[in-house]
Amino acid sequence: MSINQSGWRPTTPQAGESNGDTFTGNRALMLEEALIFEIGSTQTTGVDFGEAPSGKSRLDGLERTNTIGLPGLSEPEAVRHYTRLSRQNYAIDLGLFPLGSCTMKHNPRLNERMARLPGFADLHPLTPVDSCQGAFEVIHQLAHWLVTLTGMHSVAMSPKAGAHGELCGVLAIRAALDAKSEESRKVLLVPESAHGTNPATAAFAGFTVEDIPATEAGRVNLRALKERLGPDVAGVMITNPNTCGLFEPDMREISDAVHAAGGYVYCDGANFNAIVGRVRPGDLGIDAMHINLHKTFSTPHGGGGPGSGPVVFSEALTPYAPLPFVEKQGEQFVLVEEETAGEHHASSFGRMVAFHGQMGMFTRALTYILSHGADGLRQVAEDSVLNANYILRSMEDVLDAPFAKSGPCMHEAIFSDKGLPEGISTIDIAKGLIDEGFHPMTVYFPLVVHGAMLVEPTETESKATLDQFIGAFRSVAARARNGDPTVKTAPHHAPRRRLDETLAARKPVLVWKEPIRAEAAE
């Protein structure tokens, strides 16, 4: 047999050799799948081409002479490879995906069908503007919904993801301050409950980051915030509803204080789904907020991306928003780019991405928004909050819920590992849930809660599903409290048992290399 470069056995079925409790290592419908590098060959292809037309070569000495090393599979092999792999994934199509702060809800297939219409999918970003008016209209309609739902003044559509949207927002803040010759304002205040992207973004954009502590009730410490405001502060980056799943009741007061001190308010809008249709962030004094289309408006996240992060702006920051912009001039949609920027956009901070942003996500989000309408989106917020509170109240007697006494939560409920026996922790509960057929909640985030478990059911879960999840969650929690040793070794029924993440980080193996023959290695 062969071993790979790190010395452990590959799972490629080896003839005549037992692999676990079956000959192949497979378990009925649970099939092991080797890497394409182990099963493919550079001589195999799954694509047929016609004859190459005749023409001369103009590569002139730059022809590739070496082998790339790209294995191919025939079409049936390829379809089977990826189908087998797909079955080793948990997904929202399979069941509840209660990742707090991430928001994983039903992904309607109508969105997919609409995004694949050739008029959208087969459209080049530099196509002459007269031949893509419908695409601009999609952007314009979606922008209108986002501005109206948030009560803001304008929206920049091009940011590629939530964190890219954060960057867009803080760059607009920087540009606005620079326009007022307030270069000395270099500090962004970031509450410690913020997403890790917030401080990273602020630093990436050249700001200095200072933490603002949280109160015992899981909110921003208003007094500490006010005390820190001053002539060196550019503004605050805040998440509302925050990462403890709570609404910041002092939001308006925070905004007013920051504005009075000459700063701007950035809001991380990752949790907008909790308040959409019920609260307009513009009414809370926010100057910039990104909206994760893949969260609030259900564009599928595909195993970790793509995302899409349009940013809504207050009137104060609108002149600094990035280009390009789609605008309606008479009956015509135009693309406002650097060279066409009129007075309205003259102070724009510039371009932050090659083309127009995530058009494929815009069509999906608009489809979803039109399906729900204004009434449906309000119901989305209500049901997501109702579902989260239902879980909070159904679990608080078996798991520590640090903010349960502070009142209702928003769209996500937070628990902690406090009270669990020594040696049993949050990760064990998570892995126990895997065996029960559920994707675990978000673990160890936010950092302000020790051993945090952040549960976000979303509005697309039925009461029956929630009841089943609560039953499983209570059972795992009870076993953990009773010191059941099997909790420590879960999952037992997943495609893999617990994976050694320390080994992966200590000796990184990031690409596949030809295995060393075992006999040669011995």
Binding site: P10, P53, S54, G55, S57, R58, L62, R64, G69, L70, G72, V79, S86, Y90, A91, I92, C102, N107, L117, G119, F120, D122, P128, A135, E137, T148, L149, G162, L167, R174, G196, T201, F247, R252, G277, R280, L284, H301, G302, G303, G305, P306, G307, S308, F349, A354, G360, L370, G376, D383, V385, Y390, G407, P408, I434, K463, R496, L499, L510, V511
Partner: protein, 452 residues
């Protein structure tokens, strides 16, 4: 409402468990003044699937889809035939509707795909390692410049005139805020890129030189000498690839000494999509891996010794290092990376080489045909599937006039460089396996008429 499963009875029962009289009680923390008492004004209510489909289809019909007309646009986004099974694969619900693989035991599908993608990309670009994708080529390019600053502790980046102007624009935007010094130039309508100029500008303050390959005008050049010149001054060479199909035919940047290779992977598997979502490629040499931004998947073992995959080296990332992270990137483009990876797997080495060959000879034949037109001069003589021609008049209005006739003729340099009149007559023409000889003939005749 079809996406909301709760019934009114459910809602009442749940409120009972919670101990709230109405759902309004759950929003008590929202200040009275900020509460809306009903749906937001000015927006329509929910609509049936049929009604939404009609609305969206009507909008789609207002666009001129690339596949419906003779089509020659490139300049950073390319139209290739994507096998039907690629779209089938990415629409598998377990790929499409999964989140980031935070629980690796039940995310091995996505993780193995990421590992395979990293390996394919590293090999294609000629580097030791690659990450599991970035947002797109333009943001990957800026991240590479930042990474070069981190590695060399120098803040001056030299950008070639052959670099896509939008990529330059993104870098310029960011540099305004970060204080990086950028040296930029316009391309010249000449057969050779500006390599000598670049070499002459490298000094002890230079963190990196950024070149595109093939460049914005379609030109290709051996960058070995440039790499040597960079390394002699302890600067890094960053190569940008916006058409990865080219690497099936031409030498990889890694082979020629590039330290970081970034790119746009859209061309394989992803489709045009009016600019996004695309897939950013990022590869580098092994010794730089801990400075690399973005998500990485690594091989490991589980408690039974079976091979498995996990997200790794996350100590570089924002959720651990916060303001000290290598980048603020959290999301990547995994589904698009899957599409690209599946397309590469279907092609395999042999298929990719054939595809590249067809692209090249078709483009070469098209260049010859267009050069026969009065008023057309071929600028580039060494290229892959994209070349630049100089017209006897300004290209931008010509492109618009041809679009009115249902011919998407290419990307005019006037659109990309509105402030450079010396480039105004330039037209970038891309030819792929989807272009037919009739398409080329139609373009040639239309140009003949337009330039007469």
């Amino acid at each position: 409402m079809r996406y909301l499963p709760l019934t009114q009875t459910d809602r009442e029962a749940m409120l009972g468990v919670i101990g709230a009289k109405s759902v309004d009680d759950l929003f008590v923390d929202v200040p009275e003044a900020a509460r809306l008492d009903g749906p937001v004004h000015g927006l329509p209510n929910h609509a049936s699937e049929l009604a939404v489909e009609r609305h969206m289809s009507a909008l789609a019909r207002k666009n001129l889809a690339a596949g419906d007309v003779p089509f020659f646009l490139g300049a950073g986004a390319y139209r290739h035939h994507v096998p039907a099974s690629v779209d089938h694969i990415i629409q598998r619900g377990e790929f499409l509707t999964a989140y980031t693989p935070y629980q690796p035991e039940i995310a091995q599908g996505t993780l193995q795909v990421m590992f395979e993608f990293q390996t394919q990309v590293a090999r294609l670009l000629g580097c030791d390692v690659a990450n599991a994708s970035m947002y797109d080529g333009s943001t990957a390019c800026w991240e590479a410049i930042v990474m070069a600053r981190r590695v060399t502790r120098r803040g001056k980046a030299i950008l070639s005139g052959g670099l896509h102007p939008h990529y330059v624009s993104v870098a310029n935007t960011m540099a305004k805020f970060t204080g990086d010094q950028l040296v930029t130039a316009l391309p010249t309508l000449s057969p050779e890129p500006d390599t000598l100029d670049l070499i002459n500008q490298i000094d002890d303050a230079t963190s990196c030189v950024v070149v595109q390959y093939p460049d914005i005008l379609g030109r290709i050049e051996d960058m070995s000498a440039l790499a040597e010149a960079c390394h002699a001054k302890k600067a890094l060479l960053i190569a940008v690839v916006t058409e990865p199909v080219a690497l099936g035919a031409i030498r990889s940047p890694g082979e020629m000494g590039a330290d970081i290779v970034v790119g746009e992977g859209q061309s394989l598997g992803v489709g045009l999509q009016f600019g996004g979502p695309y897939v950013g490629l990022f590869a580098c040499s092994e010794k730089l891996v801990r400075q690399m931004p973005g998500r990485l998947c690594g091989e490991t073992v589980d408690a039974e010794g079976k091979r498995g995959f996990v997200l790794t080296l996350s100590t570089r990332e924002q959720h651990i290092r916060r303001e000290k992270a290598t980048s603020n990137i959290c999301t990547s483009s995994v589904l698009c990376a899957l599409a690209m990876s599946a397309h590469m797997t279907l092609l395999g080495e042999m298929g990719l080489r054939q595809l590249a060959e067809i692209n090249h000879v078709s483009a070469s034949a098209a260049a010859d045909r267009l050069a026969e037109v009065d008023g057309v001069e071929l600028v580039t003589d060494r290229f892959f599937n994209e070349f630049t021609i100089r017209l006897s008049k300004e290209a931008r209005p010509v492109v618009r006039a041809l679009a009115d006739k249902g011919i998407l003729a290419g990307v005019s340099l006037g659109r990309l460089y509105p402030d450079a009149p010396e480039l105004a007559n330039g037209l970038i023409v891309a030819v792929t396996e989807t272009t037919t000889e009739e398409d080329v003939e139609t373009l040639a005749s239309a140009l003949e008429e337009a330039l007469a």
